[in-house]
Every structure is written in C-alpha cells, then in structure tokens.
C-alpha cells in the first residue's frame, strides 16, 4: 500500500455483497489486519490496476455491521477505524447498501452522515431490486442524501469502474451532506458531552446506555463526562438518536418514492423457500441432513487427504533418515521438525473442509436459518444458535471447530464456546478408547443386544457432551458471566453462493492457521521430542531380559517425570508407563498409542495395536495380579474425556484469543478436572469391589 495513497473505508451491513465488492476492487489481493487487543479483522488492499484508478487507492474492508453503535466488538472496531482511533482516519467512506432493502440499510448511512466524513454510496444489487419490483431512482437518492450514489452489481463487476472513478475524483467536487447532517445533529447531546465531537459524543452516549463502554477505549475525562449525564438520561438520549436517524431514513425514502412499510418484496422468494427449510418437520429433517453432511466431511472425507499428508511426511522423514547418518541431528530433523510440520499440515484438510462448508452455508443464507432452528436448545446453555456448528465440529476435531467460532459475533460467547469445544470427544480420542476397550474389556460380554465395549464407548461420548454443556453453563455463570446475548438475527435472502469468495476465505483461514498456530505447534513438537529423547540410555548388556530392560524412553526427562509422577497416578489406577504415554500424548491424543508402544518396546500405531493390546493384558504387578484392569482402563478413558491432551488446541486458542491466559486456564482446569474424575472413577470402583 503506497504512502500517500487515498485511504477508503468500505462499510456496510452484513449480506450486502461488501466482500464481493472488496474482492472485485482489489483483485482479491489483500492483507489481513487486526485491531490491537481485539479479534476482529479488517482487510486492506490496493485497488487493482485493471480498474485504472486515477491515483493510488487503499481500500480498508470494515466488519459488516448494521450500525456503528458499539454493542459488539465488530461495531466498535468499525467506528474506531472510521474515527481515526489508533490508525489514520480514512479520507473517504464507501457505504455498500442493498438496493433491494433501503429501509434498513440507510440507517448506517445516517450514522455515517453524522460522522461527517466524505461519503459515497455504492448502491449494490440493483438487479435484485429491479427484479423485486422496487427499482431505485439513483439521482433522487443522491439528492436526498447529499452524497454521490453509484449503482453497482458486485457479483458481475458492473459499476465497479464507475465507483473507482468516483473515488478517484475525491476532492474535486463539493460533498454536501450538510442538510442531512444538520437535521441529524440538531438535537445537541446532553450538556457534559458538548466538548466532544458530535459523532463521538453520540457514540459514547450509546455505549454508556448499552453498558459497553469498555469497547470504546474512552478516556478518563470522557468517562467522567458520561458519569455526569446519568444512566436514565443516557438511555433516553441514545434511544432518541436512533429514532431520529430512522426518521431521516423515512424522509429520504419518501423523497425517492419508496414506502417504509413492513412489506419485503425482495424476500418473497426466500419466504417461500423458508416454508420448507424452517418448517417444524421438514426444516428440522433437512437441518439434520445438512449437519450430518458437514460432520461427515470433517470426520471421514478429510481422512484420505490426511492419510496422504501423513504418508508424505513419513516418506520425507524416511528419505532424510536414509540420506543422513543416524544421530541426534537426524532425529531432531525427522522426529522433531518434520514430524512437527506434519502435526500442523495434518489439520489442513479438516480446516479447509469446515470453512468451505461454513462459507457456503453463510453465503447462501442457510447458516442464519440453522441458528434460528436450534437457538432454543443453545439458549438453555446461555449460548447463541450460531454456537451449534462449531460445537458439533468439535466431535471431529477441536482445531477447525475453534477456528469456526469466528461466526459468533460476541467475544464473550465465542470464549465460552471455545472453552467448551475441547470437551467434545474428538476423533483423536477414538484410538485411545479403542485400544483400552479392546485390551481391557471383555469382548464377549453383552448387555441385552449391545456389547459391553460399544456401551462403554457410548458412555464416553455421553460423558463428554454432558460435561461440555455443564462447563459452558458454569463459565456463563461465573468468569464469563453476561446476559444471554440477544439473538436479533437477520434471516437474509437466499442467494447462490459465490464460490470464489468462499474459496478465498478458505485459503485465508487455512494459511493463517499454518502461519500462526502452526509455528507454535512446530515449536512444541520439537520441545516434546527433546523431552522424550534425552538423555539417552546407556548401552544395555545383551544378557538382560528385554522385558525387564527399561525402554530408552524411560530414561528421558519425560520418562523420569512420568516415573516421578507414579504416586500421583496410583490413585487413578495407572503406573509410570501410562504416565509417560500420557505425557507423550500431549502432542496429540492418538500419540498415546505409539508412545505406550515405545514404553513397551513394541511397534504400535492407530491401525495395528494387536501386540500392544496383548502386552497390556498380560502386564503383571509385582504381586502377580494384572497391572491393568477394566476399572483402571475406564479411569484412564475418563481422564482422556476431560484432559486437554492436545498442544494444537492450546496453540489455536492462543491464536483466537490473542493471549496465553485462556489456553493456560483451559489446560490447567481441564487437567485438574480429568485427574479428579479419573481418581473418583477408580476409587469408587474399588470401593464397589471391582478389581
């Protein structure tokens, strides 16, 4: 972005084609920018050369919002960016409005007029408006608002050249919003706020009334002034502002011959579709089918791709081993670095598939319907209907699921959802459950038509779901306390998805994961490898019985920690070998199987664990009794239900919350809970007389 470029902010409601327009303007070349301290993203890009801009133009894509009143982080960021708070203010604002829905879209125009920055209206979806029988008189609208209006169809690129020309002509003409602005600002803000700019005074007043002052970064002096206004006065003044803006919108609509009635001609087709898609029977059935497909895609369809990546990593590591002499450096390269890169890349198929699904569901408008259908269920935990898809994804893998919480607009609610997701029994826990169940439970035992093994597995899933919901409810009532967020969810018109936009978003999200969370995962893999590899054991004399001989891993720092932990592990029915495997599984839960194999000196992986199963069954305590029993296996599985044995999850939580505080809390609380629950299961089992 060249210095001295004209800075243009792109504002607009959600679902008005703002992203399409941004991608058209910039040729989809942009960088993602984050506002300090918040997780809301803005994107910045230069207007592409193919539009032949008269000067260098930088476009800043603001979050899509219905208003600038700081009720959530999105709106706070949009206003701060427009106001020049933290970064230089834009020279010009382009407001993208849905021509088929002016009655609500122009509210944001009124707020932008108050701000007083030069404004251009991009009247998008002109084709839709015309088709719905509500064509817009472009000149009349421009005259009524006092701003230039450019009709566009962002999907086809129609009107974009004219828009770029209009932006490039900035400064050469009179922008006259003074009439509209004068009417909007005619009611002065309460006395103590008169020293502030009119837009900022109104903004802070609304934040005061809404109880969201912490989002505004208000100075001490501003807070003091607001305190003088008093709560009730702030409330009624803020409400009066909204009413005044809509009165102005109605005046503009009347000037162009539109009615602000409750009719929604552009929604007719969508309302017909909704007769099926939000129907009490068909709607729920289709919802279940869509969710099943989404779940299937990340649970199964990603599998072959993940296999390819794992195979590729194994091949690469084999090649390196062949090329280099065996030694510490080769191990560092293969088991640390290459394995670490594999640990990152293996998530890419799931993340890409989930974001492809979420993108398509959002673009078509179905996501809002899904939230509408299940909101009742989610509200019981105090969550928004939009938390459903991320939580469901958690059964496949927490990593894409946590990234998927970005669809939830309230940061507090996102956090609650993020803290719940790791409790969902992800697919990486399955190999652990399968090993323990097949090794330690009686394969022939049945309870009615069900085998004991399948019931135990089902129990783990039920336990994880119930616990996730309980934990969510607890967070909602304690440290993340807050009112159940208002739903206030727009059900936008159904539209065909823009595959290019969706794919761009998939690429952005995936690349961002690899770049940011990936480096942390890589570093943790190397550290974990070192902990489980050093120091090396002395050369063992050949005549020692291999069963008695301690495996190399037991000599390492990690192995010693595992052994030192044994007194802690005994109450939950485990020994130091399990302790080492638990430490190793911090890389990823399924690594439990191969680490336990290393401890026993047996090759084992997820697919082939037969020798390891036998070893577990035959392992004896010093007194001759079996070392592991069904009860100790159950306790260990319960431990895995609760424990956050996944460094990648922690890395992603850090990325999404932009602090180590939340991942740390997650790790400590989940580990403590896991320990307590496992001890409880084992001790109660013992007390009941199970071996």
């Amino acid at each position: 972005m060249s210095a001295g470029a004209l800075r243009v902010a792109l504002a607009g409601n959600p679902n008005v084609g703002k992203t399409s327009l941004f991608n058209e303007l910039t040729g989809a070349r942009h960088k993602v920018g984050n506002y300090a301290g918040v997780t809301v993203e803005t994107r910045e890009g230069a207007v592409a050369a193919r539009w032949r801009p008269a000067r260098a133009i930088t476009v800043i894509d603001l979050p899509g919002t219905y208003s600038l009143t700081p009720v959530s982080e999105d709106e706070a960021v949009a206003f701060r960016c427009l106001h020049g708070d933290g970064a230089p203010a834009p020279d010009l604002v382009v407001l993208v409005v849905d021509a088929a829905n002016l009655a609500r879209n122009l509210y944001l125009a009124a707020q932008l007029c108050e701000l007083g920055r030069p404004l251009v209206l991009a009247l998008n979806m002109m084709d839709v408006a015309a088709a719905a029988g509500v064509p817009v008189d472009v000149d009349a609208l421009g005259r009524a608002l006092g701003v230039p209006v450019v009709p566009t169809v962002a999907r086809t690129g129609e009107g974009v050249a004219a828009l770029v020309e209009r932006i490039g002509a900035f400064g050469q003409e009179l922008w006259d919003m003074s009439e509209v602005r004068g009417r909007l600002l005619s009611e002065p803000p309460p006395g103590p706020l008169r020293g502030l700019g009119p837009a900022r005074a109104r903004w802070l007043l609304a934040a005061q009334a809404g109880g969201t002052l912490e989002l505004t970064g208000a100075s001490a002096a501003e807070r003091a002034a607001l305190g003088e206004v008093g709560e009730e006065a702030a409330r009624s003044a803020a409400a009066a502002q909204v009413v005044a803006r809509y009165a102005e919108v109605d005046r503009v609509l009347a000037a162009i011959g539109h009615m602000a009635g409750d009719r929604a001609p552009a929604m007719d087709r969508s309302a017909r579709i909704d007769r099926v898609l939000t129907h009490r029977v068909w709607g729920l059935l289709i919802f279940l089918l869509v969710m099943a497909a989404l779940f299937q895609s990340i649970f199964s369809w990603a599998e072959p791709l993940m296999g390819v990546i794992e195979g590729g990593i194994a091949w690469l590591s084999g090649q390196v081993k062949e090329l280099l002499a065996p030694g510490v450096f080769t191990d560092l390269l293969t088991e640390g670095v290459i394995a670490g890169v594999g640990n990152v890349l293996v998530f890419v198929p799931q993340i890409a598939l989930l974001f492809l699904f979420i993108g398509l569901l959002e673009d078509t408008g179905y996501m809002a319907r899904a939230a509408f259908l299940v909101d009742r269920l989610m509200a019981r935990v105090g969550l928004h209907g939009k938390a459903f898809v991320p939580l469901l994804s958690g059964y496949a893998c927490a990593i894409p699921a946590i990234l998927g919480t970005r669809t939830i607009s309230s940061f507090r609610d996102r956090l609650v959802t993020i803290m719940m997701i790791p409790f969902m029994s992800c697919s990486a826990r399955l190999p652990v459950y399968v090993l323990l169940i097949s090794a330690l439970f009686d394969g022939d035992a049945r309870l009615g038509p069900f085998s004991q093994a399948s019931l135990v597995l089902l129990l783990m899933y039920v336990l994880s779901t119930v616990s996730a919901l309980a934990v969510g409810a607890i967070y909602k009532r304690t440290i993340l306390k807050g009112p159940t967020p208002p739903l206030v969810l727009e059900l936008p018109p159904y539209r065909l998805p823009r595959v290019r936009n969706t794919l761009l978003q998939v690429y952005d999200r995936t690349a961002d994961f690899v770049r940011d969370a990936g480096t942390v995962i890589l570093a943790m893999t190397v550290v974990l490898w070192a902990l489980l590899s050093f120091p090396k054991p002395p050369e063992a004399p050949a005549d020692v019985d291999p069963v008695e001989q301690r495996s190399p891993i037991a000599y390492s720092v990690g192995g010693r920690v595992g052994q030192a932990m044994e007194p802690l592990l005994e109450p939950m029915g485990q020994d130091f070998r399990m302790g080492i495997a638990i430490l190793g599984s911090f890389a990823a839960r399924e690594v439990f199987v191969s680490t336990l194999g290393l401890v026993y000196g047996i090759e084992a992986d997820d697919e082939d664990n037969v020798p390891l199963r036998a070893a577990l069954r035959e392992a004896k305590r010093a007194d001759g009794g079996p070392r592991y029993t069904a009860l100790s296996g159950l306790a260990l599985m319960v431990f895995f239900v609760y424990a956050c044995q996944c460094m990648s999850t922690l890395a992603v939580v850090r990325r999404e919350t932009r602090s180590w505080r939340w991942p740390l809390l997650m790790f400590v609380s989940m580990t403590a809970l896991a320990y307590v629950m496992a001890v409880l299961v084992y001790q109660v089992g013992r007390w009941l007389g199970y071996p």
Binding site: A103, G210, A238, Y246, A264, A271, G283, V488
Partner: protein, 91 residues
C-alpha cells in the same frame, strides 16, 4: 364455565397494548415502545423496531422460540423474551 370466562378476558384484552411476543403468526402490529436493558433496547431499535413501525410475525421456530418478524423489508429473528420488550398494538 371457566373457558367462557377466559374467552371473555381474552376478548377484553384484545385492544389493550401488548408485546410482540404475544402476536399470532401472520398477524401485524404497530410498535408503540421499546423497553429492556440499554444494549438490547438500542439493538432492537436499530434493527428497525422503532415506535410507529408496523411489524408482521412470520412464524415461530420449530421449538416455539425464537420468532421470525418482518420489519422494514427484512426478516429478523428475536427470542420471545426479547420480543416481550417491544410494546405493540394490533395493526
């Protein structure tokens, strides 16, 4: 006997102000006032539920809540608890 009494009460209340939460599907009402906590009140007003606006209840979600309204050319979904803060008279 009890039913007729209830019917009479309903009859008597028909023209009294009530909230959007009590609207029947397909029926229209005119917003008279918006109450509730500051943030919620502002959000409801900004989504177009300003006094004087005519609103239609399109449908209820399968589990009875939330509600789908048509307001100012948009379809907006609110929970019954939120719609309860919007006072309205039949239109």
């Amino acid at each position: 006997m009890r039913l007729t009494l209830r019917a009479r009460v309903v009859e008597a209340c028909r023209d009294l102000p009530s909230s959007l939460a009590e609207l029947a599907p397909g029926k229209r009402a005119r917003v008279t006032a918006v109450e509730g906590g500051g943030g919620l009140m502002l959000r409801l007003l900004e989504m177009g539920f300003v006094p004087g606006t005519v609103v239609t209840l399109v449908k209820r979600a399968p589990f009875g809540d939330p509600l789908e309204f048509q307001v100012r050319g948009c379809h907006v979904s609110l929970r019954a608890a939120e719609a309860g803060w919007i006072q309205a008279v039949p239109a």
